[in-house]
Structure formats: structure tokens, C-alpha cells
Amino acid sequence: MLADTLTRFVAQDYPLDARLAAGAGVPGYAPEKWRALADLGVHGALFDPRDGGYGGAGFDLMVVFEAVGRGLIVEPLLASAVLAGGALAQAADPKTKSGQKEHLAGLVSGEKQATLAHFEANDGWDPTHIETTARKTDGGWVLNGKKSVVRAAESADFLICSARSSGVPGDKDGLSLFLLEMDGPKDGVTLQSSQTIDGGRVSDITLGDVTLPETALIGRAGQAWAPLQSVLGRGVMCLSAEAVGLMDVIRDMTLEYLRTRKQFGQPIGRFQALQHRMATLVLEIEQARAAVINAAAALSGDTTDGIATARALSAAKYTVAEVGTLVAEEAVQMHGGMGMTWEYPLGHYVKRLIMIGHEMGDGDYHLSRYIRLGEAT
């Protein structure tokens, strides 16, 4: 239902031209569309009722993010609602952190936009390989380090930032989460920002002796791995579902092109060389969808088997990376020169689909992780 509403919203109110302009500008999306999405209830669908939402299960994420992919939506739902919001919801101690609860409410309603500053340049997608440090002082904390390619950071009202309060990179213990208000220039926080090739903006965030009050700590010091792992898993889920949504659009466009583009006096779809390739795309996309459904089910079901869930998520991300690359490259090829142009929409979906492989782990990372987790059982 929500998916239909979203699809209708994109068709009626968010034409591709507007999306491209917003994605290439500052802040990298359209604030009025962000509000419109919130009014439609998209944000709320990404949160559990416990946290003030009305969804939040694996299948909720899947449905919304397939629609995000189909609509090529550039608004930072993943960064703000799923990652930052999820981290706040799961890590914060509801009894003691009243201020953080208000922050969470702002993300659920969409009145605020935040982002999760977690990944770093040398982590190789390993979310425990965090080098940024958090040092305890008398009145609070001091952060030092650098966060890489953080989406929608410039426009964020606040950051949820991970740092290591003890241990060494690769340790699960010792990770902590902090809330950094971004309501004005902040001592020691420097952003270097850029647009991205698929739309939206990213920043490298340098933290140099950033002092934070005690209340900035989210949850308990050193105990952030469990909530982080859960939230990052949900992020992987969303990206995988988004990829499937993109593939559906690309498939439909390519099929339509094969039926209508004529060369040698016939539709190019009459050439068997292309028929077989189109057939391959269609069946591979269904495999990718199956992988995503499997991951959604694993997230939605009882979460006692953490390893099985994690493997299902990595299997999905690996599958959409493989299939996504195939679909993107074959679709351009079968369009001939037309697929190479800015004016024809295909290329914009293709760019996003390929770049999903550059967020939260590429296919090789998730394949290795799948193997490693399998050995652990």
C-alpha cells in the first residue's frame, strides 16, 4: 500500500529532472520532497511501534526501499531514518537519555535529518575496524579520527558517530556511539564535501579533539557493537531492496526498447542474440529478489539466530552486487548509444545501481563474510 503511494508520489510530484537537479545540488536532495515523504508516512514505516513508528520489520524495509529504487529517490531515508534513527532507537537507554528520545522522535516524524558517521577509509567495510577514538575526560568525552564518505552529513541536524572508547580496530568490544549536534559550526569538526556520481552529497568528517558532554554518549560506553551490527544489517537490507527496485525499472525500460527500437527492418528484440541476454536478465533479477525476500524474512523472524540472519543479509548484498552489475552493463549495451546519454533516463538508474555496490560492503566483502560466518557455525 505504502509502496503504491510512494510510486504514485514519484510519478506525479517528483519528475526525474527535479530529482537530478536536487541530487546534484546542495544539500543533495529536495527538502520539500523530504517533508512530503514524511507526510506520506514513509519515515514512520521504517520504525518499530516501540520507537514511535508503525513498521520497521524486514518486510517493511523491503517494501519501502524497493519503491525508493523504482522512484530513484535521493532523499536520505537510509542515512537518517534507518541508520541514525535505528542506532538511536537501539542503543539509547530510554530511562536516562530523555534528550535523545526527542532526537529519535524528530527522525521518526521526519522533522529532523541525521546521519550515521561510522565507516572509515581503511576499514575495508569491516564495521569493527574503527580507528576513531573516544577518550573519557572529567566532564565528558574527546573524539579524534576521520569518518569516510558519509551521506547527507552537511545537511544533518545531528550526527550519530561511532568511536572506540577501548580496544583496537577489529574488536567488537569498546565501540561507543555519540550524538553530535550540528546546529552550528562545531569546534574540531571539519567536513570536506562533494556531490556523488549517483546523486546526493557525501562528506569526509575529520574529528580533531572534539569535546562532547557526558550526555552525548548513547547507551553504555563500549557496548555499541550489538546495536550497530543490527542497524548496519538493516542498512544492507535496504540497499539490497533498493537495488531490486532499480533493476525492475531497468528491466522494463530495456524490454520496451527491445520491442520498439528497429534495426535491419525489425525490432532488435527479434535477434536471438539479444533475446537470450534479456531472458538471462529477467531470471537473474528474480534470483536477486529471492535473496532479498530471504533476507527480509530473516530480519523479520525471530532474531535468536544472529549468524543465520547475518548470512542471509550478506547473501542478499552479494547477489544484488553480482546481478546488479550484470543488469546495469547489459541494459546499457542493449540500448546502444541511447543508453549512454544523459537525456534518456536509463543511465541514471544504472549509475545508482552500480554505486550501491560502493555502500556498506561490495560483493566480494559480503561473499567473504558469508564464508567466514559459515565457518563459525
Binding site: A273, I354, D362, L367
Partner: protein, 406 residues
């Protein structure tokens, strides 16, 4: 075929690399390395430098300004130029039109146009494709009607690479509707400053302006600009395409790209170790390297055989016929594979995209390591190489038909 370089060939290699070191402006090479947009003046300058040394047209017969090099020497020269990050020489006049003029043009045409190609007086572009005639090139519709001493042109060409810089365009035009479509095509040289020619940009998916639409409305072209015979243009067009395809294979560019890939993989770290030591990634790189090496040797082998073949037409054995289809397919697949690996190797840093960083003279900061900026853009842009020059599917059709008799 002897694969090791003879002492003479090694000396030649040294001569070329020495010359490049002294004559290729480091600032220009740096632009090429960083994937920055080259200005028209950059490209013209390099063209002039090569011409000054007499090395601009290695594939031309000596009498017209060629070098008289063996295929091996030409191969060495190309590789050295790539390695030094020399700009790619704009091929339309030099490597496409010129071989056609040399083989099929009149003496007067050769005398007029070849020197102008060499000295850079003319910038040529290629007017083959039309909106309705891509793979099925012979279905082209642009009309040329003879009126006294002129042809009157009406129609449209598209995908015209660097047409925004060109003053001349060679066009395939329809001069007859009799018989098979191939039989009514002629090959015309058109001055783009003639009234009625209009060039409009087409942006590619990564936002660059490389190609154009060119519209022709009652454009008058003197009949002496017809190459060869009227209605025989298809023969010349196909001959030109074998040159174009061999050129697209771009083995030298892939060799440089592979070196860049290795450097990126050594520099990028994944949870404490270089990406190059990641077994999955190392396997991907090794496959690409093996494929490239195979293609390089296969390429040499084909060129070498062509050179041995009797009666090779240009005197230098540059035309390799149907084998050019094989070179094109393999060469482009490998290039695309390496581009994809470079992109993958960057991890999250493939995403930042700063158009201003590709503009000449940009020295500001870019997000991520300095080698990152052009990589994703190049990956997307180079999807074109399996499409143009006759798509790889069309090359396979040619192989099936011409080589395999299927």
C-alpha cells in the same frame, strides 16, 4: 613469430621513450593521467608535436608522410605513448579518412587533404550514424541530390564525436534508392562552415560533452568532395571501419589502466592489509592481467600476419579485415573489466564526483585519494567502447558470417 624484441627494436623503444620524455609536456601528461578534460588546443598541440617529429602517421605509406615502421615498431610506439600518458591522437582524419583517401581518393584529393590532416589545418569528424541507422548503417537516409556542380544535403547525423571542434565532416549519404540499400551510398567530405550545418550537443550519462547531433539543411557540397565513385561509398565505409576497430581495441590503454589498478590495490587497505592481498580481489586482477596479456599477443600476431600477407594495400599492412572484429571485442571487454576493477578497488571513494576537478587547471582538493576522482566516470564513459565502431554484437555477427561461414 618471434616475441622477444630484437636489439634494433629495443633501441627503437629507447629512442621513442627518450623522445617522449623530452617532448611531451609534463603538464599535459598530468592532465591525461588525472582524467582531466583536454582542451582543443591541448589536442592540437600534441598533434603538432608528433607531426614535427614525423611520427604522427605511422600507419600511412611513407610517400604520404608515414614512418615506414614495421607492425612491431608501431606497436612499440603506441605502447610507449600510452605509458607516457600522451593524449590520444584524434583519429578521425588521421586514422579513418586518410586510409580511405589513400586507397580510393583522387590524386587531387590526396594532394589537398592529406597535408592538411598532417599539419592540423582541418579537424575532421565522422558522420556515419543517424538516429535510425546505427547497427544497420546501410539504412542511412541523409539525402544528397546532385544539382550541377554541387550535392544538396538534407538530413541528420548523430553521435558525432568531438563534432563541436571540427571544421570538416566526412559523411555517408544516400545518392540512390535503387537496389539494395548498400548500393546507393556515397562518401562525401563536407565543410562544416557551409550554411545549413548545425551542431547540437548530446550529454553522456556521466555528464560529459563528447558527442553531438549534426543537422544538414540544404547544405551545398562541391562535387569534387565526393570520394571515389558515386554509390560506391559502402565499400569505402567498410574499409574505414576496419581501421576504426583496430584503433578501438586500445591494448596500450589497458596496459596503463592495469598498472594503475595495481597501484590502487596496493594503496587501498582493507581492514589492515592491502587490497592486493585480498584473495578474491587478487584473483580478479590476475584474470584481467592474463586476459590482457593474451590479447596483446593475439593482437601482435594478427598484425604480424597481416604484414606478412602479400599485397597489403597501404604498404604497411595496417588493414586487418575481419580480424579487426576479434581485436575490437577482446580489447574492449578487457578495458571495461579493468575499469570496473579500478572502480571496485576504490570502495566508498568511487562515489564522490566533482565535475570541476576534471576541468583543466583544477588544483583544489578532491574527496579521497587523488587517483580516485576520474575512476567512476571513466568506468561509465567507457561503456561506450563496446557500442561504437560497430557494437560488439555486430562484430560477432561479422565473425559468424565472414569467418565462420555460419
Amino acid at each position: 613469430m618471434d616475441l622477444s624484441l630484437s636489439p634494433d627494436e629495443r633501441a627503437f623503444q629507447t629512442e621513442v621513450s627518450d623522445w617522449l620524455r623530452h617532448n611531451l609536456d609534463p603538464a599535459l601528461a598530468d592532465k591525461v593521467r588525472r582524467g582531466q578534460r583536454l582542451t582543443k588546443a591541448d589536442m592540437e598541440g600534441w598533434h603538432r608535436t608528433l607531426n614535427g617529429r614525423g611520427w604522427l602517421a605511422p600507419h600511412w605509406p611513407k610517400e604520404y608522410g608515414g614512418t615506414g615502421w614495421s607492425p612491431i615498431q608501431r606497436h612499440i610506439f603506441e605502447e610507449e605513448c600510452c605509458r607516457a600518458y600522451a593524449p590520444r591522437v584524434v583519429p578521425f582524419g588521421l586514422s579513418m579518412l586518410a586510409p580511405v583517401l589513400i586507397k580510393y581518393g583522387s590524386e587531387a584529393q590526396k594532394k589537398t587533404w592529406l597535408p592538411r590532416i598532417l599539419d592540423g589545418s582541418d579537424w575532421w569528424c565522422q558522420g556515419y550514424s543517424e538516429p535510425g541507422a546505427g547497427s544497420d548503417l546501410a539504412s542511412l537516409k541523409m539525402r544528397a541530390v546532385r544539382e550541377g556542380d554541387h550535392y544538396i544535403l538534407n538530413g541528420q547525423k548523430t553521435w558525432t564525436t568531438l563534432g563541436q571542434y571540427a571544421n570538416m565532416i566526412f559523411c555517408l549519404v544516400r545518392t540512390s534508392n535503387e537496389g539494395k540499400p548498400q548500393q546507393g551510398i556515397s562518401f562525401l567530405m563536407v565543410d562544416m562552415t557551409t550554411p545549413g550545418v548545425e551542431v547540437r550537443p548530446i550529454l553522456l550519462l556521466e555528464g560529459t560533452h563528447e558527442v553531438n547531433d549534426v543537422f544538414f539543411t540544404d547544405v551545398r557540397v562541391p562535387v569534387e568532395n565526393l570520394v571515389g565513385e558515386e554509390n560506391k561509398g559502402w565499400t569505402y565505409a567498410k574499409y574505414l571501419l576496419t581501421y576504426e576497430r583496430t584503433n578501438i581495441a586500445g591494448i596500450g590503454f589497458s596496459m596503463v589502466a592495469l598498472e594503475e589498478l595495481k597501484q590502487i590495490a596496493a594503496d587501498q587497505h582493507r581492514a589492515g592489509r592491502p587490497l592486493a592481498q585480498d584473495p578474491l580481489f587478487a584473483a580478479r586482477m590476475a584474470r584481467a592481467e592474463i586476459a590482457l596479456n593474451n590479447a596483446r599477443i593475439a593482437n601482435l600476431h594478427i598484425l604480424w600476419n597481416a604484414a606478412q600477407g602479400a599485397g597489403n594495400d597501404s604498404g604497411n599492412g595496417a588493414s586487418v579485415g575481419v580480424e579487426s572484429s576479434m581485436l575490437k571485442i577482446k580489447g574492449t571487454e578487457i578495458r571495461q573489466q579493468i575499469d570496473a576493477l579500478k572502480r571496485q578497488a576504490l570502495g566508498a571513494y568511487a562515489a564522490p564526483f566533482q565535475p570541476e576537478a576534471f576541468e583543466p587547471g583544477y588544483n583544489g582538493p578532491t574527496l579521497g585519494p587523488d587517483y580516485a576522482a576520474p575512476v567512476a566516470r571513466q568506468y561509465f564513459n567507457n561503456r561506450k567502447i563496446s557500442i561504437f565502431g560497430g557494437s560488439n554484437e555486430i562484430q560477432k555477427n561479422i565473425i559468424s558470417k565472414m569467418m565462420l561461414g555460419l
